[in-house]
Amino acid sequence: MEHDTTMRILAVDDEPVFLDILEQHMVALGFTDVVYCESAEDALSTLDGAGQGFDCFLVDIKMPGMDGIELCKRIRRRPDCQATPILMLTAMSESNYVDAAFLAGASDYITKPINKMELSARLRSAGELGRERSRVAALTSTLKGQTFGQSALTYSDPVRLHDLEGAVDYVALKNYALTLGNLRMLNWQAVGFHLTGASEFLAATGPAEYIEMMQDVGSILFDILKLGRVMIAHAGSGNFVALIGRERAYDPDETQSSVNALLVPFNDYYRTVCPVQIGVIAGHAKRSALLSFQPADRSIEQALSSALTRAANAALTV
């Protein structure tokens, strides 16, 4: 697939030589609408003064003054940038920087030294992600009182979880796992959750109520899981996936009971708009294998499969 070279990009790095290299790569890839800034402060001023928004950000993590993680948070706070892909650039490989970057809202991560092929692939993904996010974000914005017609939100669309610490986009969660690789993913276990009744709820109530319900369930899951490190995303099709610290004891049956108990008052309300009760099925925890040839995000997919299998088994026993 070709690049969307019309993307307007803002690149921030305190090293002028790096910006020079980046510019050469961008020109070679066909991107001509790129603004280069040498500091986070300069980038924020550029954003304030820009009449036209940006479609993608490339942000160096380690910069004097305001660093890239703080810049990432500030960009995400801007209403016009909540869905814009942010690719973090760094020579750093320490996991604490990676964790902080993704929790601050980063979408992906490019390790220096950069090469044209990798940059090309990441920008292509960012372009696709940006278009998809903009579509979903436009629908999700109904939560903030904006209006929309009978929207194109489908059951398979991931919903962005607003104002929830530890919530990231599903694509960003997978990118995070890929960035860590199998070795550092050993510090995490992935757990999946499937919501029963979600598709019926969407059909009965429409996108606005559905998004709000997903937000409620996401908050409950976060509350149950937040005793340790946690990152959570809605994966679409009534599924949530979370990464929790490997050290954490996790029992799917216990977690499922706790979540469903907290859902009871919400279901009392949901029943006024949809006759189908919402329930949560928790899957088994899945971990990466050190000596695996599987991609590092495999445990996320396995966690979702586990939740779906348990949901199918539960349906058979009813």
Binding site: E15, F18, D20, I21, V27, A28, T90, A91, K112, N115
Partner: protein
């Protein structure tokens, strides 16, 4: 050869030429970077704002690491990476005792020297402007 291949090659040629220019420009900056690092090294040795000086060394190494590999200076990139990681980790602690600082410097100043030597070697081997 198809037109597309020709275009790609010509784009690639252009990139190679431009990267060579950036590469030469980077080598020209090494002089100033070496002076900066030597100054910071002297501050550590003399005990002047040591913490600040070590952090500045880590920052400079980090910046060099970020560009050297891309420009084909893999050896410098690797050496800068070692300095970046060791010095940044040392500086990440809220406070360090004098003994810890002395031990760190004894163990890690050779990495800084190796990076400085490589920077000087690259400067010396650069064709005259």
């Amino acid at each position: 050869m198809t037109a597309m291949t020709r275009t790609q090659l010509s784009g690639s040629d252009h990139l190679t030429k431009r990267v060579a220019q950036v590469r030469a420009g980077f080598v020209e900056t090494l002089d100033e970077r070496i002076l900066d690092l030597e100054g910071l090294k002297a501050m550590v040795i003399k005990g002047q704002r040591r913490g600040e000086a070590l952090q500045a060394i880590a920052n400079q190494a980090h910046r060099i690491r970020g560009v050297a590999g891309t420009l084909g200076f893999e050896s410098l990139g690797t050496l800068a990476g070692k300095v970046d990681e060791a010095y940044a980790e040392f500086c990440s602690a809220p406070s360090r005792s004098h003994e810890e600082l002395v031990a760190f410097w004894r163990a890690n100043s050779p990495a800084l020297e190796a990076m400085l030597d490589e920077m000087e070697r690259l400067m010396d081997s650069a064709p005259p402007a």
